[in-house]
Structures are given as structure tokens and as C-alpha cells.
Symmetry: C2
Subunit: 280 residues, 2 copies
């Protein structure tokens, strides 16, 4: 199965912009849309986008694949607009951090056959076209979550699209994905925000942190809108993860109050062993 | 005031090794000691250490400054051994992450005049001579905490020693230092370990994390012995910091349970504002 020759990218922020740049670098024709004209202008000026799309996506023409790189309700609305192209495109996918809602929505609007949910596990706290780069997905995992009706052709197109961008596809059911990412992505983000809030209340600025502390606080710089949408959508899975970290913290606090040196050392050793073990 | 021409470095791990390398690079004669012969051999072989010291430090000879780069009780014992050199050296300092105990110990053993506590706020979770490098302190803060009797000559020698290594000296009372570092260093470390423990219990390995999660988990790889000593020594200050983060986490958890979208967005916005504000 060959990778798509023409791809429409809806949303040219850090993720969508990086998809567009990466594909353009590989000789793929990229059509683009963004509500932010300055992103679209920059993408056209840099030669990444060969044609601007209308806001109703009527004019995706011969695009074989569509990448929805906007989030939450806007992504679901884009699915609605794309319904008419169901027979023509091989693949419609997205880039969101949660997969249950978008995958269910694709099924519901009748795009179940050509839709495969994608979550490229890449990027950082920044956002916008200026934060995009063509090698963002190089060697990074991309989770692919099929609908109940995704065709093999759609799944193969999704795989080859992301492999073209250097990513490593991992197929995972949407519910399983969201349960896992609550721990591996959403938990770290909320913990980082909690550290930021605690330091803010104490009147300590980011420049007073060392390298390690800065690393811990970095995710707090992420987009509040994006992360609010993610947190609310995955609230029930995140609950268990937050609870687990709270219990570990309160365990440390109790041991420190009791001056339980052996207990502290044992827990720090378990944590270090996890770190070392998973490194190899 | 000129920087010392001959310096004795006791302990050649990541921090002590980096002090030795950095000074040797600047033409300073470095005498060295470590209980680990392989570190000492490597330091001599690489030309960083010009002479090995005996374990009682009787032979520091004309060294004008001594840097104690070992931790906890061992550092206090080194102070005892160095008492005899009180009149000869301009500066005895250390590199520990907490300052109250070592500064009080220096006063107690009668080295208050020539001792200034140092805490170079640099390094990462690794340890040992192989992790040392000559530019580790470049542009990093080093806290300097005087005893009740530190001479101006000792303070000036400490400043010039660290500036020679590219660090930025910040004078801070030992108690104030320990209270601040509970938030900026010890808190991040324990939170990172708590994330590691929660993930370990859930059966999730480090390789399943994204870049952000890996950053959050990195500090958990630090030395359990070193961090147990730090945590216990600064337990009372760390308590308040852990409590503050627990409260933020449990606040997020409650808002998520109540599907309080505005509350979550407000907190994430406050966190992001802290991040942005402190960046400039």
C-alpha cells in the first residue's frame, strides 16, 4: 500500500503544522486550513501548503487522506463537514490525546469505515505554527485506534502516513489508549501544573528552580484550553492515577514525619529500580 | 582576591569530580581523595588530580582551599579530620544540598572562621566520576551559606572558586537556603519518585512515557542514599511543600469528579501564567 500523494491537514498548530511540514518534505502535496490566517499565510509562504482549503472543506478535491489537527468539539464538527467525502477519501484521521470520543463520533456520523484515530505521542508544552517542525514525529510512538468499522485500507493508509513521518505506529483500542494515557501523559501534566501552583502560592519563580525542578514544571506551560478538554474527557481514568500519586506523596510525608529513614530509602530505591529497569 | 592556586577535593563523584575537572582546566593544582579507588585512578590517569591524598588528609600541604564533596555524616567526619589545618587554609567548603547541619558542624568543630557552606545547584540524577564534567557549573547558581564566624577572606575565596568554575554565587543564610530548597529541589525529587512508584504499581514502564512524562520521572533515578539523607535532614521543611502539592492534586481530582470545566481551566491557566511569567 502506497502512502497518500495528496493530504489535507486541518489545523496548522504545532502538531498539524509538523504533519504538513513533514509530508511536504517527503514530496507529498499538502492542502491546508486554519482559522488563524497568520498560520495559513506562513504555511503557504514557506511552501509547505500548496493550496488553502475553504472552511467547509468542500474543496479537498483529490486528497486521499485528511488529518484533523484541531481538538475537542471542533474536531467533531470537522467530522460532520467531511461526511460528504466518505466515498472519496481512503483515510480520515485526527491527532488528539484522547481517542474514545472522536472514534465514537466517527462511527456515529457514518465515517467509521475510513476513520482511524491517531495520537502521535510527541510535542511539548508549546503550541502554534511557529512551534512546528518536520521531524517532530521521528522515532516517536503514534497510537492508532480503529473505529468499529475501520477498513484495512484505512488502517494501512494511517500506518504508512505516520511511518512516512518517521513515527512508530502502535495499534491500540480507544478505551485502552485512554486508560493508559491517563497515566503516561495526563497524570504528568496535572502533577506538573500542581507543582507550578504550589510554587506560585509560595512566591517562588521558575528561575529559582534547578534543572530537575524546571523539567518537573515544564508541562505546566501547556495550553489551558487543550488540557482542560483532555482532562475533562478522560476524567474518570485520570482520577485513579491522581489518587495513586497522592497516596505515594502522603506516604513519603508520613515517613518523613516519623523520621523513618529505612522506609524513605526503601521507597526511593523502588523508584530508582523502576527508573533503571525501564531504561534498558 | 585571587582564586586558590592549589585545591584539595575530597570525593570525586559527579559533583566533586566536576569541581576537580573544572579547576584543573583552569590551571589550578588539584589534590584528590576518594574511598573508591577506581574514581581516584581515573582522575589521576586523566591528569585532573596531580596528587592522591591520604584518608586522614594530613597531607593537604599547601592547598589553600578544601572542597568536601561527600555527604551526610561522612562530610561531618571530614570536618573533624580537617580541624588541624584551621590556621593554614583560607577556605573549607562543601557541596551538599542542605546547609544547616554542615554549617552548624563547622562552627562546632572550630572551623567556623574558614568554613563557608556551598551548594552548587547543578547536576542531574546520575552519580560517580564518569558523570562528572568540567562545565557542569557553567551559569548555574551556587548558594553560599556562611557560619556564624566565616571570615570575609573565606567568603571571597568561596566566591572566586565557584566563579572560576563559571557558577553564579548567591549568598544565603543556611536556614533560608534549606527552606527554599525544600520547594525548588527536594519537592520535585519526591514528586518524581512518587510518579515512578505509582507507574511501577500500575505496571507501566518508562519507555511507555512521552517526552513530558520522561522529564517528570527522570529525578526518580537519583541515588536513594543521597536523597534519603537530604529528605531526612530537611524533613520539616519538605513537609509543607509536599502538603501543598497534595492539596493541588486533590483539588484537581475533586474538580474532575464534579466535571468542573471552568475550575480546571482556571487552575491550568494560573499554572501556565506562573510558567510564562517566570520565563522572561
Amino acid at each position: 500500500v502506497s502512502a497518500p500523494k495528496t493530504v489535507a491537514v486541518i489545523g496548522l498548530g504545532m502538531i498539524g503544522g509538523s504533519v504538513a511540514r513533514g509530508l511536504a518534505d517527503k514530496g507529498v502535496e499538502v492542502l491546508g486550513y486554519d482559522t488563524n490566517d497568520s498560520y495559513l499565510d506562513a504555511a503557504v509562504d514557506s511552501g509547505v501548503i500548496s493550496r488553502r482549503l475553504q472552511s467547509n472543506f468542500d474543496d479537498i478535491g483529490n486528497a486521499e487522506a485528511v488529518v484533523i489537527a484541531i481538538y475537542g468539539d471542533a474536531a467533531v464538527q470537522a467530522l460532520e463537514s467531511l461526511k460528504q467525502h466518505n466515498e472519496r477519501v481512503r483515510l480520515i484521521t485526527d491527532v488528539g490525546s484522547t481517542k474514545r470520543t472522536i472514534v465514537a463520533s466517527a462511527d456515529k456520523v457514518g465515517l467509521g469505515n475510513c476513520f482511524v484515530g491517531s495520537h502521535p505521542f510527541a510535542g511539548d508544552h508549546r503550541s502554534g505554527w511557529h512551534a512546528s517542525r518536520s521531524d517532530l514525529f521521528e522515532n516517536e510512538i503514534v497510537y492508532l485506534s480503529p473505529t468499529s468499522q475501520s477498513t484495512e485500507s484505512a488502517m494501512e493508509a494511517a500506518k504508512s502516513l505516520w511511518m512516512r513521518l518517521g513515527a512508530r505506529p502502535v495499534r491500540m483500542d480507544a478505551a485502552e489508549h485512554d486508560a493508559l494515557l491517563a497515566w503516561t501523559s495526563h497524570l504528568p501534566h496535572i502533577v506538573s501544573a500542581s507543582i507550578a501552583l504550589a510554587l506560585a502560592e509560595r512566591g517562588i519563580g521558575r528561575r529559582q528552580l534547578g534543572r530537575g525542578g524546571k523539567d518537573m514544571a515544564r508541562l505546566s506551560g501547556g495550553s489551558p484550553d487543550l488540557w482542560t478538554a483532555i482532562a475533562l474527557e478522560n476524567a474518570s481514568e485520570i482520577d485513579a492515577a491522581l489518587d495513586a500519586v497522592e497516596r505515594e506523596l502522603s506516604g513519603f510525608r508520613l515517613m518523613l514525619r516519623q523520621r523513618d529513614r529505612n522506609g524513605v530509602r526503601e521507597q526511593l530505591t523502588r523508584a530508582r529500580n523502576w527508573h533503571e529497569h525501564a531504561e534498558g
